[in-house]
């Protein structure tokens, strides 16, 4: 491990491949330095976070420093993922940002009731999406501190 510590990871749960490509493009444009890991439904997101199934080999190291969550997904939806993450002692420290096309007040209220960290309405313009990715990367990966249980030993070895 070098002095910068392990690579920073962002988990992005998004079922629509067009959306995943667009998020990747916007992320690359945003100047944000991190690995963007995609999962395509809520079940897979939980496998990733709990290191189950095909993610078992990942071990407990390098949990993502940010979860970007879509709400409408097959198998398990974003609400279910959020509920499980926020009721787990270790995972609940990982910031979760919901990225949704929903503008329904009921959705916004209910994810905040489940302790989501931010709710963002997916913009309809590419440059807005780039800006959002830039702000998210800047704030959650550079400004805030997370506990060691998520990021490992911050001082390196």
């Amino acid at each position: 491990m070098n002095r910068q510590g392990p690579e920073k990871r962002i988990l992005c749960a998004e079922d629509d491949p067009d959306d995943r490509l667009l998020l990747t493009e916007a992320f690359n444009e945003s100047g944000c330095v991190a690995a963007l890991d995609f999962v395509s439904d809520g079940e897979e997101a939980l496998d990733y976070l709990f290191r189950r199934g095909k993610y078992a080999k990942f071990g407990q190291a390098s949990l993502p420093r940010l979860i970007l969550l879509d709400l409408n997904m097959p198998r398990k939806n974003g609400f279910e993922v959020l509920r499980e993450v926020k009721s787990n002692r270790r995972l609940r420290s990982i910031p979760v940002v919901v990225l949704s096309t929903s503008t329904a007040e009921a959705d916004i209220q209910s994810v905040y009731d489940m302790w989501v960290n931010s709710f963002i309405i997916k913009p309809g313009r590419f440059d807005s999406l780039v800006n959002i990715m830039h702000l998210l990367g800047k704030y959650w990966l550079e400004v805030v501190e997370l506990p060691d249980s998520i990021v490992g030993d911050k001082n390196g070895e």
Partner: protein, 384 residues
């Protein structure tokens, strides 16, 4: 030929009256009416609840109760059959009250013969069936209207996502390949981006408009002065840019949905500023008390509206100017109309082209949300 008999119920505590009515019915040639008799209030209610009779004849005097009490109770229990009140001579006030409460007719005891009784019963039945038919049609219209609104909502909601994709990918194309595909290609992409973005605006406005119909927030006290202040705050950019002067009287507090009242002022002010003449745009908002409602007005010194456009002005997506002159989707006034109507008021305008326009709208002093019929087809709760 034996056809279906028409069951009647007479409610009367006097047996002699029962005999009189029975005999009158028997005088009718080919009498089709079958008369049952109930002599007290409680028993009569039971029988009415069973719903076996097509017409009820209610005596006004029923011991401790009156025929009006019975009428009222039967109606509140959902009785659909017509009720005719039998009253005494000189009971004009009772007669009027009975009709007001929903009686089909009244007959004055001792003053009706067989043919009048027959006609009253037949008219009452006819009247009731027309009324029921009308009620069914109105309910059906409300339902289909509601379904149409839901359709607009669902359609605009579901169009939003793919449209966002189109715009975003076009913008990505523009960003990555600008200057490499030739000037013509750059122009084509630019037109595509512009129009896809225009469609985005139309769809999001349509969504906003259809959402207004779905609002079921209860009304609260809204200080219109404060609502206007919020609207002005939201418009500070165009107000500053145009140098507009916005003034107002003291505005009343009304019963309504605050967000919608703010939106109403905001759309009216925004139009007043957008459609301005040379010189300083001036907008004034005022209100007058008119007994059962408030009359609001918003008057400007803008370009005005030709009277022949009056019919089109409040229709969704109707525009009187081309987009190069005045941008917009043509939804602002449609939204205003919807908000005012939801508050039980109406909206109209007076204008002198070249001099200015005054928009008027009313809000009842005791406003309640105008109810909509429930839809059966689609549910908004399924959407996110």
């Amino acid at each position: 030929m034996e056809s279906e008999r028409i069951p009647l119920l007479l409610v009367d505590d006097d047996e002699d009256d029962h005999i009189i009515v029975r005999d009158l019915l028997n005088e009718i040639p080919n009498n089709k009416f079958a008369l049952d008799w109930s002599s007290n209030y409680g028993e009569a209610l039971e029988v009415i609840r069973s719903g076996k009779h097509l017409v009820y004849l209610l005596d006004y005097r029923l011991g401790e109760h009156t025929g009006l009490d019975l009428l009222n109770e039967a109606l509140s229990q959902g009785c659909q059959a017509p009720m005719i009140l039998l009253t005494g001579r000189g009971d004009n006030e009772v007669d009027a009250e009975a009709l007001r409460m929903g009686a089909a007719d009244y007959l004055i005891k001792g003053q009706f013969d067989a043919s009048l009784l027959e006609r009253s019963i037949r008219y009452a039945m006819k009247h009731k069936s027309v009324e029921n038919e009308l009620r069914k049609v109105v309910a059906e219209l409300k339902r289909s209207n509601r379904d149409l609104e839901q359709f607009a909502y669902v359609a605009s909601h579901d169009m939003k996502e793919p449209l966002n994709m189109v715009v975003s990918y076009l913008q990505l194309l523009e960003k990555r390949y600008h200057g490499t595909l030739g000037q013509e290609a750059d122009e084509f992409i630019e037109y595509a981006v512009q129009n896809a973005m225009r469609m985005q605006n139309l769809v999001s406005d349509l969504l906003r408009y259809s959402r207004l119909g779905a609002g079921d927030k209860p009304f609260e006290s809204v200080d219109c002065g404060e609502a206007l202040k919020l609207a002005i705050q939201n418009l500070r950019l165009p107000i500053t840019e145009s140098g507009a002067e916005v003034t107002s009287d003291n505005l009343p507090t009304v019963q309504g949905e605050k967000g919608q009242i703010v939106q109403l002022f905001q759309n009216l002010l925004s139009n007043a500023i957008k459609f301005r003449c040379e010189g300083t745009p001036r907008v004034h908002v005022g209100a007058r008390n008119k007994d059962d409602h408030w009359l609001f007005y918003c008057t400007d010194n803008g370009i005005g509206i030709k009277p022949e456009y009056a019919d089109r002005l409040f229709i969704i997506f109707q525009r009187l100017h081309n987009r190069a002159e005045y941008p917009g989707t043509g939804i602002g006034l449609a939204i205003c109309k919807r908000i005012v109507e939801r508050h039980g008021g109406r909206i109209w305008f007076e204008s002198q082209p070249g001099k200015g326009t005054t928009f008027y709208f009313t809000i009842p002093t005791q406003a309640e949300p105008v109810k909509k019929a429930k839809s059966s087809a689609m549910s908004r709760a399924d959407l996110s």
